[in-house]
């Protein structure tokens, strides 16, 4: 009898012990179940279609068998053959049918006939819609130049590359990317430690003895994609878990040490940890000597950032800062799982640089159990972006560069800050964006919207098109609304990532006159005359082109129902010479690290007028910067970006998910609540200098008494549960109306990350 590492039986061995071997092996054999049917089926009337879950958007989702009966999607079964989710799924996956058949689905292509915002449309055909958009874009290109068009990016989707490719063919650099999501980290880690890995160097869960969960949520973001299991297994193996986050989410609940940091102060904590490790000489002197640049300057620079200095900023007792710094530096295999939390503060780049410096000087870079530079994934396909089309002229025309122009393009191509290009419509500076396409993104809830600035811009912009599956928060301002298929209603594209590539299969016929996001971009490109760059409109050629590095065609891939799982190569460690000399994606291809060493002192940033070493920058409204506001607004407010059942601003209309989280809640400490006469479950009003929101109080001890937090993205109603939609502005629950957009104080100067912190007061509604 085999014991699993946590001292209990694994499920499989339990099945064997439990005398269920017959059942277990029939399932494992994978051919038929006891009814003589494929194992996923309950009756001969059902069909099992292997594909990807699409409830996190069109992306490399978890592998599923979509079960269809009478042409209808009835349920989802996990795909055991998928190396990602191994047959397991999250609640979203199991609510797919309610999403696909939602009454909120867009029904037809629409053209606006009333005033902006009035919601009066006429029904048109898909072809008319494409014709209308193409005519408008051609007219604007002629009149104002191609840069007048912006496409707003949702969270990274498989179609993101098609959006870039379209803009590149059109000649516009203005891919609107939010400075809040992964790319900021990738960028700063790139220019600090040379790692071009998306999201930065990867924590080695399998071998670490000490795991820091810092500003991330490994449980909700990708629970079934193995992230939850690897965390639980890491803990069960005996690794120490240290969580640095403002609230006690379930991952914090299993941690050995909780560092309940004040939102937005990660840079201050990381600087203080550098101070401890350098002052106490706990660093890896040999690594520092051979592989870092500017250590002496950094050592002198962080002198002032003592744990005592950090205490009033981070809210973390100096002793705890010292403890965790010592544990990190002195544990042989220590890793940091770093998250998007860093990307929600004006000191974003400072926090990432300081964390990169911590990994480097502690000797945890690219060593077993530390943070690794993974090699090229075996299932790497050809990028969709046509980055070779980018010219200096295009870069010069960026309306609001997400990263400094001299450091563009970055991995996704050129980009402007999502919020900044919307702002240009209002300010006309340096020139106004004239046309906006929003595919799968809802700008009124997905970016900062104080005093309704996004709505004002959408009223004013010359042309606005929405491309989505479901009704969106701002579709009433659109000139054209194009309904697209869900990914259950289309057979493309394939998805590839890590060591897995699989074709997508159509589960059901489209429920309306829909085409896919991919068909939208390709058809529009052909209509615009960019067909040469868009496989002359052929999706088969498009997919074959992308699959070419793997030496297979889409037809060959389709013949394998679970795709191809490549063998992972054993990791190679300490690839410093190679990684620290990697070329950057700039036009010059100059290396990320000019000295070929970790940039503890960053000459690249210094040449651009930015600070050569990480510093501390207070959020725009905070006890440090605006103490005068504390009397009226004594609490720090921030928001979460992940939750167990929702994604960003969507899925609230799915009844099975809404039942789990029925109302927008404000997490608050019992002390904070009691002082205001608030009880768990009471409706409360949260006021800031910019507006007010309404939440249900979720009173629990897992949050700092000086901080309150809510989930972002609330506006949708859910008719089946008699929940009506919330206002986008005052009186709703849209956290994006609360924050500053003053670039000088609210934005990070290197990566346009925006502050998600402000000061508020809370009272009973």
């Amino acid at each position: 009898m085999k014991r699993s590492s946590e001292g209990s039986f694994t499920r499989r061995s339990f099945l064997q012990t439990a005398g269920l071997v017959g059942i277990g092996s029939a399932v494992a054999a994978g051919t038929t179940n006891l009814l003589g049917l494929p194992p996923q089926l309950h009756s001969s009337e059902e069909k099992a279609i292997p594909t990807f879950c699409a409830m996190c958007g069109p992306s490399l989702g978890c592998g599923i068998y979509a079960i269809v009966k009478d042409g209808k999607l009835i349920r989802v079964e996990g795909m055991k053959e998928s190396p990602l989710n191994r047959g397991r799924n999250c609640p979203k996956a199991h609510a797919a049918a309610q999403w696909v058949y939602s009454p909120q689905r867009l029904k037809y292509p629409l053209r606006r006939v009333g005033k902006r915002g009035e919601g009066k449309f006429e029904k048109i055909s898909w072809e008319q819609a494409i014709d209308h958009i193409a005519a408008k874009l051609k007219e604007q290109k002629e009149k104002y130049g191609p840069e007048s068009l912006a496409v707003l990016s949702p969270a990274r989707r498989t179609y993101s590359g098609y959006m870039q490719r379209f803009l590149q063919a059109h000649g516009s650099p203005n891919y609107g990317h939010s400075g809040i999501c992964m790319v900021e980290k990738t960028f700063v880690f790139g220019y600090t430690i040379g790692s071009a890995t998306v999201g930065g160097p990867v924590p080695d869960y399998a071998k670490t003895n000490c795991l820091f969960i810092w500003g991330t949520q490994p449980i909700y973001s990708g629970s079934s994609k193995g992230q939850l299991k690897r965390l639980l297994d890491c803990k069960a193996r005996g690794a120490k878990i240290i969580a640095i986050k403002p609230t006690m989410e379930p991952d914090v609940a299993i941690a050995d040490i909780w560092v309940p940091i004040r939102p937005g102060t990660d840079a201050a904590l990381a600087l203080a940890m550098l101070n401890v490790i350098i002052t106490e000489k706990l660093y890896d002197a040999a690594f520092v000597e051979e592989w870092t640049y500017g250590f002496d300057k950094l050592a002198a620079h962080v002198q002032k950032y003592t744990p005592e200095w950090a205490e009033p900023i981070t809210g973390i007792p100096a002793q705890q800062t010292k403890d965790v710094a010592r544990i990190y530096a002195t544990t042989k295999h220590a890793a940091i799982d770093h998250g998007n939390g860093f990307e929600h503060a004006p000191s974003c780049n400072d926090a990432i640089r300081a964390v990169g410096a911590l990994m480097a000087i502690a000797g945890h870079l690219d060593r077993p159990g530390g943070n690794l530079f993974p090699g090229k994934p075996p299932a790497a396909t050809k990028p969709v972006e046509l980055n070779e089309k980018i010219t200096q002229g295009m870069i010069d025309k960026l309306v609001c560069p997400e990263f400094p122009k001299t450091l563009q393009p970055f991995i996704e191509g050129t980009s402007s800050a999502y919020n900044g290009l919307i702002e240009s419509v209002l300010t006309g500076k340096p020139y106004p964006i004239r046309g906006i396409i929003a595919p799968g993104t809802q700008p009124t809830v997905s970016t900062r919207n104080p005093k309704g600035m996004v709505i004002e811009a959408l009223k004013k912009v010359d042309f606005f098109a929405v491309v989505d599956v479901m009704r969106t928060a701002e579709m009433n301002y659109a000139d054209i609304v194009l309904p697209v298929t869900t990914m259950y209603e289309t057979d493309h594209p394939f998805e590839a990532g890590g060591n897995w590539v699989m074709a997508r299969n159509k589960v059901i016929e489209p429920l309306g006159p829909y085409k896919s996001d991919y068909e939208f971009w390709i058809e529009l490109a052909v209509k615009m005359g960019y067909g040469k760059d868009f496989w002359n409109g052929s999706l088969t050629e498009c997919m074959n082109d992308q699959l070419s590095p793997l030496g297979i065609t889409i037809d060959e891939l389709r013949a394998k129902p679970n795709g191809i799982v490549y063998e992972m190569k054993p990791p190679v460690y300490e690839k410093y010479k190679q990684v620290f000399n990697s070329p950057s994606p700039r036009l010059s291809k100059a290396p990320y690290l000019p000295q070929g060493k970790v940039a503890l002192y960053n000459t690249t940033f210094e040449e651009l007028g930015m600070t050569p070493m990480p510093e501390w920058k207070e959020p725009p409204e905070s006890s440090g910067r605006t103490p005068e506001l504390l009397k009226k607004y004594p609490l720090t407010f921030s928001d979460f970006h992940t939750s167990k059942v929702y994604n960003a601003g969507w899925l609230r209309n799915v009844p099975y998910l809404r039942e789990v989280m029925p109302d927008p809640t404000l997490q608050m400490n019992p002390k904070t609540a009691k002082a205001r006469g608030i009880k768990d479950g009471d409706w409360v009003i949260v006021e800031s200098i910019r507006g007010w929101l309404k939440f249900k109080a979720d009173v629990n001890p897992g949050i700092r008494p000086d901080t309150v937090m809510a989930l972002h993205g609330w506006y949708q109603g859910c008719g089946e549960l008699a929940k009506s939609a919330f206002p986008i502005l005052d009186g709703g629950a849209n956290t994006n109306i609360m924050y500053s957009i003053d670039h000088k104080i609210a934005w990070d100067p290197a990566v346009t990350a925006m502050s998600s912190q402000t000061l508020v007061q809370v009272r009973k509604a």
Binding site: M1, T10, H42, S223, L232, G238, E659
Partner: protein, 192 residues
């Protein structure tokens, strides 16, 4: 003693993700507001040292089901071959006596007023599959099987069986992640 099937949970591996609950509803087409499986969360202590633990549970498939004993129409039965407690809806008159009798709040009532609850995915078991809550759980926290054999197994030796007059078929397995099984049981079942 006849075979008795039951669920177990590994303390600490449940993170309140609700996958089990939603998968159960999806498979069984359970109406809104009705839960055959429930996820619970419990806070204790004070900042900065609070604790937060989670549990997922469904019907306990008791050896001496209180629901069965009080049912006036014998709509609730216990299967001889595996001890699974099932309800025959056509005989249920919706009197809700079972709801009052069950110490675990399991019986649920639909718009037709008839009792409904977890049947351990009988249809799937007969097809050679695991209950959907078990097979989808991303944390691998849930398991099921014949309880006598489980009790004798190595995992069973780390487990504590929930005690109660109805002899529930439910185990909490200890692990290095979560609280001790006794603490877990005390937290979620002490009021019973």
């Amino acid at each position: 003693m006849a075979k008795q099937m039951g669920f177990y949970i590994i303390a600490g591996r449940c993170v309140e993700c609700h996958a089990c609950e939603v998968a159960c509803k999806e498979l069984n087409n359970v109406a809104l507001g009705i839960h055959w499986r429930k996820v619970q969360n419990h806070w204790d202590g004070e900042f900065p040292n609070p604790t937060n633990i989670n549990m997922s549970s469904a019907c306990m498939h008791c050896r001496k089901p209180a629901c069965l004993e009080v049912c006036p129409t014998h709509a609730i039965t216990k299967r001889a071959e595996d001890g699974i407690v099932v309800v025959n809806q056509s005989e249920c008159i919706g009197c809700r006596a079972c709801g009052s009798a069950c110490p675990y709040g399991v019986p649920q009532y639909g718009h037709d007023s008839k009792m409904q609850k977890c049947n351990l995915c009988l249809e799937r078991l007969e097809n050679g599959k695991e209950p959907v809550c078990v097979s989808t759980c991303p944390g691998e926290a849930l398991g099921f099987g014949p309880v006598e054999e489980f009790a004798k197994s190595a995992a069973g030796k780390l487990a504590v069986r929930l005690q109660g007059e109805t002899e529930p078929s439910f185990f909490v397995v200890g692990s290095s992640i979560g609280p001790k099984p006794e603490v877990f049981i005390d937290t979620f079942f002490k009021r019973l």
